[in-house]
Amino acid sequence: MMWLLFGYFATVSIVAGVLTVSLRNAVHCSLALLTLLLHMAGLFVLLNSEFLAMVQIIVYAGAILILYLFVLMLLSLKTEEQHLHKKYAFMVFGGMFVFVELLIFLLQSPFGGKKGEATPEVILNTDHSHAIGITMFSDYILLFEIVGIFLLGAIIGAIVLAKTPTKPDNPDSTQTAIS
């Protein structure tokens, strides 16, 4: 049963990923990306991390993808005749080379390491989001604060970049802003 679910989620994610990079219409690409993200949330559930699966659905599929679709519809792009790069065969060849190298390295790896303390029994005693919260606000509190400041910077940067520039024939607004 686990293998069936894993096969389904993995196959659909890979197919959706390939569709995302190969479809011609940009809106279709973003819908394929949505499929990919939802099935990846399924893979997270198979890995016993339900909280992360929910965050994946809410933040990725609910917020980031909507942002992409919003910008796509704002710009109203035409579907192009040539949607791939001119020298794409060369790029695909180089990418396959890197992929084979990656596989060789992965096949040599023992996939071992020091075991931690958060065994499934420990997590089941509390629950998953509680365990994540305890870890986040004790060991990773500095990282949490840094991510908060990063998000503030990203918000300010996005607003400053996307703001409509002031008209040059109205110098009063800029002068009052300076003085």
Partner: protein, 100 residues
Amino acid sequence: MIPLSAYVFVSAVLFMTGLMGVLIRRNFIIVLMSVEIMLNAANINLVAFSHYLDSMAGQLAALFIIAIAAGEAAVGLAIIIVVFRGKMATNVDEINILKW
């Protein structure tokens, strides 16, 4: 029980798909989507190792990666809007003012 290597294989294939997308697509928005695919592949890897090695750290890292991806998407799309307003182009090979 599914072995860890199966998850790592899925993650490697998805990562290469995203890398190919960054390399071969001309549309800037699709390039950003391919970057999201690569971040997700890294997430699968982190969560799988976190599950198989009984540690919470990988899931925390995946959570922070999701936050970083949200910021990256916001700033990247703002840059796309600015470039589109000035040049009416979203193809990465037409945006070459900084090239020389």
